[in-house]
Amino acid sequence: MTTATTLPARHLPGDPSIWVFVLGDMVIFGCYFAAYLFDRGHDHELFLQSQQHLSQGVGAINTLILLTSSLFVALSTQAARAADLRAASGLLTLGGACGAGFVLLKSYEWYSKLSAGLTISSNAFFMHYYMMTSVHFFHVLLGLVILVILRRELQGSAPPRMQLLETGATYWHMVDFLWIIIFALVYLMR
């Protein structure tokens, strides 16, 4: 029972309403990226200098953490679909733990930047940096709440509602890939 069970063809994961949210959020984050790139175009040198202050190692670790948590959540969805609820719930807990790890590491990173005197209003780069990471941080917190709800769903007596699990998983993966893009644009881009 290892390969993914065959899915009905052309099946929209989760209920369609989550995709209204995901696509909308992609557009909203698209606007953030556009504003960031627009400002970067105007003041490339300043953005390059400020970017050096960011610790790219922590950013990379955060990306790996979120990728791992995304893997766990995806495996948990598949396990739930294969009616192995115990494994699904266990994998979901691991995914949530990685999410919490991301939250801790991100807070630590902010704390180290703030104590180094690089606050949101020190320059245009840090304005974008703090704004994008904090809106994303809010999304991660909301995602953790959703993972808790999914876990309660899995441990409930009744058979879990697959649509709810897929909706939660879709949201969590969105949070993950938004971070991948933020990591590339803010930390690594030159």
Partner: protein, 248 residues
């Protein structure tokens, strides 16, 4: 006594009609008359002359707009009333979320809307005032108006929660997610209190224009789906004694 209309949903429909009409007034007042939100919204880094030019530019229009605002803002609570009625119909979440929505609706009137109008009314009242005072009133009005986050954030959170928890699907689930966008726009409006230029200032592309765009999309969807919710409210939910006739 002439019997005007006979429809068991008449009171909800009357309240429903107040929402589009109020937002037409809102657009007229803040867009055309006072130009506070009129495209292009004046920015935080205007010079003193710029501020006095904007405020006293068309004093008569500004005053008429604020008079209209002072009168029409009271009728915005009709919209809150009908939404609370529909939220009370939801099974799943009890009345607590509806009452929270009602309280936020009441609280949001002053800081969210009227406060800005009053401040501009004061600065227009005496054009020979010291420009420094007009500048203070100008900024208090703008940042207070656009930076007023809390009451709307709570209202959107409560409304989204009610929609998600509701098993009767009175409002579609995607409207709940759209309300979450609004909550995000409050987040992105937070730096309005810090920045005086750039996309996150109060006239910034993201904090203001993206926020207004999402709000307009949300309010249009809310109005249409609220009408749908009222329309397909089953008749047996109503007490037969209440005929809903308007006897003047």
């Amino acid at each position: 006594m002439t019997q005007l209309r006979r429809n068991v949903k008449l009171d909800q429909l009357i309240c429903w009609w107040s929402i589009p009409i109020f937002y037409q007034f809102f657009g007229l007042i803040f867009g055309y008359l006072t130009k506070i939100m009129g495209p292009p919204i004046p920015g935080p880094n205007l010079t003193l002359e710029g501020i006095t030019a904007f405020t006293l530019g068309n004093a008569r229009h500004m005053q008429i707009g604020i008079v209209l605002l002072a009168i029409s803002l009271g009728f915005a609570s009709m919209g809150t009333g009908v939404i609370v009625v529909q939220m009370r119909r939801m099974s799943g979440p009890g009345p607590v979320l509806a009452y929270c929505y009602l309280a936020c609706g009441a609280a949001a009137a002053l800081p969210g809307c009227l406060f800005c109008g009053l401040l501009f009314a004061v600065s227009v009242f005496r054009p020979d005032r010291d420009p420094q005072i007009i500048a203070v009133l100008y900024e208090m009005g703008f940042v207070g108006f656009i930076g007023c986050l809390g009451c709307f954030a709570t209202q959107y959170l409560v409304f989204a929660l009610a929609i998600f928890l509701d098993r009767r699907a009175i409002f579609p689930k995607w409207l709940g997610y759209m309300t979450l966008w609004n909550l995000v726009t409050e987040l992105i409006a937070a730096p309005v209190w810090i920045f005086r230029s750039g996309p996150y200032a109060w006239n910034g592309l993201i904090s203001f224009y993206l926020g207004v765009l999402i709000f307009v999309v949300w309010i249009v969807c809310l109005i249409t789906w609220l009408k749908k919710a009222i329309k397909n409210q089953p008749l047996e939910e109503f007490d037969p004694a209440c005929t809903g006739t308007l006897l003047v």
